[in-house]
Symmetry: D2
Subunit: 340 residues, 4 copies
Amino acid sequence: MLRVGIVGALGYAGAELIRLLRGHPEVKLTILADKLEKPVALSSVYPQFRGKLDADIEPADSERIAQETDVVFLALPHKVSQEYVVPLYKAGKIILDLSADFRFDDVTTYEQTYGVRHLDPKLNREAVYGLPELFCEAIKKARIVAVPGCYPTSVILGCAPLMGKEYVDPHSIIADAKSGVSGAGRSPTPATHFPECNESLAAYSVAQHRHTPEIEEKLSALAGMPLRITFTPHLVPMNRGILSTIYVKLKSMVDEEAILKRYQQFYQEAPFVRVLPVNTLPNTRAVTCSNFCDIAIVVDARTQRLIVLTAIDNLVKGAAGQAVQCLNLMRGFPETAGLL
Amino acid sequence: MLRVGIVGALGYAGAELIRLLRGHPEVKLTILADKLEKPVALSSVYPQFRGKLDADIEPADSERIAQETDVVFLALPHKVSQEYVVPLYKAGKIILDLSADFRFDDVTTYEQTYGVRHLDPKLNREAVYGLPELFCEAIKKARIVAVPGCYPTSVILGCAPLMGKEYVDPHSIIADAKSGVSGAGRSPTPATHFPECNESLAAYSVAQHRHTPEIEEKLSALAGMPLRITFTPHLVPMNRGILSTIYVKLKSMVDEEAILKRYQQFYQEAPFVRVLPVNTLPNTRAVTCSNFCDIAIVVDARTQRLIVLTAIDNLVKGAAGQAVQCLNLMRGFPETAGLL
Amino acid sequence: MLRVGIVGALGYAGAELIRLLRGHPEVKLTILADKLEKPVALSSVYPQFRGKLDADIEPADSERIAQETDVVFLALPHKVSQEYVVPLYKAGKIILDLSADFRFDDVTTYEQTYGVRHLDPKLNREAVYGLPELFCEAIKKARIVAVPGCYPTSVILGCAPLMGKEYVDPHSIIADAKSGVSGAGRSPTPATHFPECNESLAAYSVAQHRHTPEIEEKLSALAGMPLRITFTPHLVPMNRGILSTIYVKLKSMVDEEAILKRYQQFYQEAPFVRVLPVNTLPNTRAVTCSNFCDIAIVVDARTQRLIVLTAIDNLVKGAAGQAVQCLNLMRGFPETAGLL
Amino acid sequence: MLRVGIVGALGYAGAELIRLLRGHPEVKLTILADKLEKPVALSSVYPQFRGKLDADIEPADSERIAQETDVVFLALPHKVSQEYVVPLYKAGKIILDLSADFRFDDVTTYEQTYGVRHLDPKLNREAVYGLPELFCEAIKKARIVAVPGCYPTSVILGCAPLMGKEYVDPHSIIADAKSGVSGAGRSPTPATHFPECNESLAAYSVAQHRHTPEIEEKLSALAGMPLRITFTPHLVPMNRGILSTIYVKLKSMVDEEAILKRYQQFYQEAPFVRVLPVNTLPNTRAVTCSNFCDIAIVVDARTQRLIVLTAIDNLVKGAAGQAVQCLNLMRGFPETAGLL
């Protein structure tokens, strides 16, 4: 059994990691930790675990974590995460980092986007972007994986099969994404206060969300040319789920069937992508608490645009589940282990 | 006092008409009616009116309605509505029709879109499209007004100031609209069953929603050229409100300030359009139960796109409130009478 | 026109006071204030007021408030409120205090319940409990009114007609109350963070909520004997509304009709209490944004218990609306002025 | 592997049975059926199963079901269920019936409560009430189990440890229960239409809900004397979960610690009952999608009442999970198999 630790167990992605890893056949959770002064009982924060896992979340100490684990999942805010990643990696651990710290090929983009210095650009070069549907082989060989978050996962999986296709204008991508509130994390804020966000709907960070450069870097690499996209996130009064509605200009008319075939082929080896049949649209309920990404395509022949719709659970395929999927690849477990 | 009747009082738009017209200083509600076999007490359907308006909703009979009213609001499904509009108009009534039956300049488009025959194409030519911010003068002179619904109002008000502007590509419009569930009406359906739509999010009628041709007809007229748009409606788990996120390609770069100025000027006489200051985004909560349309613009300089965001209450500015606003113009009342 | 100020305009009850008083025919809002270092624009906190009331909320300064007002509404936390009430009262203002500071006849109970010292027990004796359905005459003569909050209003109005009735055991009252989240105020907390309280339901402060002694003091006075009740509040994932389900033991069997008659008579002069007909149950939606209290009674003959159900909007009849209703009585305006 | 069929797979309890039994190590789902004219794809009704279980729900035919199964779960409406139970039982199948048809010891009470005739009173005598925490030994020997639903489970588990205790007045029980909307089933109705029940709260079937006689029959047996309770169900705007707040009069004062100890002992062998520590209250979120029942007790010393709070997931411990737990006992599997 692999000894696994979670740093950042207080947050929603951390709790989801606990839920999934508890049920993973090859894994034993040996330590739960977070930025804390003193231990707190897991069940006092997440009462759903009472009687299932009666453990404490402990103050995160890299040395102790290194001693008790073979693998460490980090579900910490950016910048904080690298402070743990670097020593744990040097201590020989396998790292799955859910923060943004190691997601960028170009450290400069990271530093500009997040306004912080990267602690270890050299290590950054070793990190693999943890989107298994696209980078499966690299993940298998990696010892450090930077797991992408919810928005990039939902947009990149929606666009990837189109990149490099002549019939698509890659510069025309507009992604209109709608997220449940758990995506904003576990810290109370005015924007996530129930009476404020319930029965309301709003966009935020329009034209300046920091996931945009991350999406662009990955899509540019796939397209083989520098791309810019328009990305608009919205906050929806529900707990979980992201629906992204993606608009792409078709340079020549291609019928829906041909594009659907392309998507089916592209994802035929991907156990967690469900390309929906014609006339079936995704909804976030259908993927709640699962690691699936549902994708539908619609051709708007009148305007010669392709509309791609993707739905994921932001905390599973958009965070914890994707991290577990990466671990499965890294260690040669079945890709779906602990995830179905 | 104007004697006013409401046909379609059972529906959500009908109830909203009752709420607004009850508080209107120039109006007396003389009859509430709907397609019914026998009368039902208003308070049994809408208990909020108990003790405020203890009336019955009666079976809709055109002759009786004609006798008891000067003005008739019709909040009925398309096709059904025209069956009442035609005789009531002929009986000399002022008509405010909230259905789609008289919204199209081109009857053929109406007939194709809705799959029904129009009963009176000649009368259709007299009907004015009841969007006061654009057609104020025509509404003032009209005796029959076809009040636009929620999606067209939110999209057309968002795009109108751009039509005819050289710096905008009018063929590039993409409107991604998100609606609360009351927009689907008062009849229970699987899609609006609480456990199905709560905690879920989905698009519907992608690339084929029947409000698209209506929006296109009006924007084409404003732009002076035939336009096609991509319009995607979504169902959001909240009761009221529509947020439309509209994407338009800029042919040349224009700064945010200049465009904001354009919107402010365009709507400077419009008491119900609030063009939001820079860095302020609309949310549906801010317009709930009001007749306001909040509009914000953001220039995405990196992609040379303009993002317009509009928020309305689908039952007020998107239905009943807009109808009352039209009545105010038609009768020379202050435009805001009964609406603030 | 009465010059009216609101201290505590930042909170939800404050915002509701603004909404109601803006529409009140006899009132002019002259100052909005709160505990602040510097002014903030009302529309930046409550964007619904943009274009309707473009005022600032100012730092609360008792002297300045005294100069600019005839009447002051205070929607502040307990203990803070009395610091403003005392000087404003001494400056001759009419006071409507929505805090708990002047609600108790017995200052000792107040001090024990809230763990603070009362600043002015003498002034406390002049304050009248602002529940118009019970204390109408005293309110008319008062210069300072302590407006009861949501839970006490919903429970006391439900029980009052039974107090002193021989067929009821006054010591048997159990009130199971369920509140929307706005009742918890505008400050974000873990308990009101959307992903925590959405899709969840819980009781809180069981057997120790501080509204219990307030309810008991008032019901004891009505019953003419000291009473204790069991009161259990619950937090429900919705914005507004309180439903209280109240259980009372019948000492002798009385039929539903007789009790209903009692309620109808008791509230026959009360414009905001709607005693529902037999077989009709209240729901919070029917009172949302209104000052009504809907009451239903059901006799459980099998167990010889009476079940009383009451519904109010916690921010209107449970706060701001009730305060306005008190003002109307104090100044001889129609009791419903500004409230229908 | 046990061959298991589900009749009533279209409903929410049916879908939950599919979810749980798919993950059960000793079970193979061989047939999904419901009252249908022709087969429908499971994924068209419940898209979450797409790619996990791509089966059809078939027209329910008792003969065919008998051939393909060893065990049958029936999640059908009362009265309809017995039409399948009787022939399937006679065909030698093990029966887990989630309807009310075999829950009553006294067939007359059943017939009066549900207004239908019982098809097989003799078979009814063989059926065991499937509440494992109370009837474990009988369930182990049963071939037909009548699985209790959500309200009875939440109330009976909350009261059982008190039955027969001298310090409790068994005639004083009042259960105020609050349920999520999935408890109302999958058929759209006006009461469960999203805009009607969202942002609203109401009681229903006050003093006449048909689960009352069922609860009374079971508690009376435990108490050894005939009891009547007051039971009030409420509909809460959330998908899942039931919270029951139960009030019981203490005949003599007993301290919280002693009662807590009683509950802990009573449920010490029960893997799915979590008696919460002092000062910890249950919430429905903590049991969502799990088979746990969380129980807390609070003594209101001032009024000498005990308040018991229980939380379950209405579709799991209140339906499908409980049925699986019964199967585990009937077949000698670990009680928690497939449920953690």
